[in-house]
Symmetry: C2
Subunit: 209 residues, 2 copies
């Protein structure tokens, strides 16, 4: 029986719903594409060296799974944090969104190795020059309409590792980053991918044709 | 700088987004009513004495803030856990819902003191007779269309006090429970309301005309 006269004893500190995870598509069909509709541009206004990555705050709006969210910040991991069927890509972009009551949705993009990404290069150049300038992300390239990908409940991937974070991981992005760009990040910050975490029974939805 | 070679050291165990809370309406108008559309009935199939309350599992469906949820279970607190403008009502009903990816929404109803609630009385009678029988909740009475109320991000109110729980607290329910029914619960289980918790900057939305 629960002791209502000793409520301070109730806390336990299990962490069962952590991110990142290995994403595996199951056979259950949900819908052909992820329901995300973002502004044409997110405007990035401040570039922050947080010693673990570059973090850029800014503004923009998106409707994600039928609720309105405000874009908060973007940051980068090299190599990728989420893996797909056990396979790790070289880079992962996190677009963090929040709504009025503080629910967090992170839209993760997994670029492939290829041509240099010009927006990312502008961010790197501003960082190198120590001259933060406003950069805008052209969303139709970053979060394409009718993207396919994964949807699950997890956590922040850096401390305080807060749970209750909703993840949308796009798995068919046409974005690429170059080996030079990846090398620059790893040289600057070291590898900054958290290990994949146990699912502990969590269901992952896969949105795909 | 974050030590990616010592990731086990990252956990901290702050609990900043806990429930219940004192709910205070601000002046910002969101929408006239809470966007909840439930089935006509939830069918309760199993009645459980969990030593802290009566918990009934069952099935039903609801669209809550534009997403589909399945009803999981209902249980009861006496007196109420959430307070409104510092005022505590005598009873609180929690209808717990979950969606495919494990997001939890609890719809809380705060009946007023008045006539005996017949569905609650059937539940009490089944409990007293130790003869669990299927009970159905007529939702139009329990979650009225166009209800007003509060919307915020919190936690379970019993261990493990998991955060990331979305709360919808209806504040204009026409449900009543009798003093006898309240007395029965408190005699059976003791007072089972968790203390209200600090908001720590959380925003609460109020949906009302």
């Amino acid at each position: 029986m629960l002791d209502y006269n000793n409520q301070d004893s109730w806390y336990d500190d299990k962490h069962l719903n952590q991110s990142p995870v290995d994403l595996v598509a199951n056979d259950e069909h949900v819908q052909d594409f992820l329901p995300i509709y973002a502004d044409k541009f997110y405007q990035l206004t401040q570039e922050i060296n947080d010693e673990t990555t570059i973090r850029l705050t800014g503004f923009g709006n998106a409707t994600i799974f039928n609720r309105e969210f405000e874009f908060q910040q973007i940051h980068f991991h090299a190599p990728a944090e989420h893996t797909i069927n056990g396979k790790q890509l070289p880079f992962e972009i996190h677009l963090v969104h929040q709504n009025k009551i503080g629910q967090t949705v992170v839209v993760a993009i997994l670029p492939k190795l290829g041509n240099s990404n010009p927006t990312l290069q502008a961010i790197i150049n501003n960082f190198n020059a120590d001259e933060p300038q406003s950069v805008s992300i052209k969303l139709e390239n970053w979060i394409a309409r009718l993207s396919s990908g994964f949807h699950y409940q997890g956590s922040l991937t850096t401390p305080p590792l807060t749970e209750g974070v909703e993840w949308v991981v796009i798995d068919d992005s046409s974005l690429t980053v170059s080996q030079n760009q990846i090398d620059w990040f790893i040289h600057q910050f070291g590898k900054n991918n958290r290990d994949t975490q146990a699912l502990n029974g969590r269901q992952i939805e896969h949105y795909s044709k």
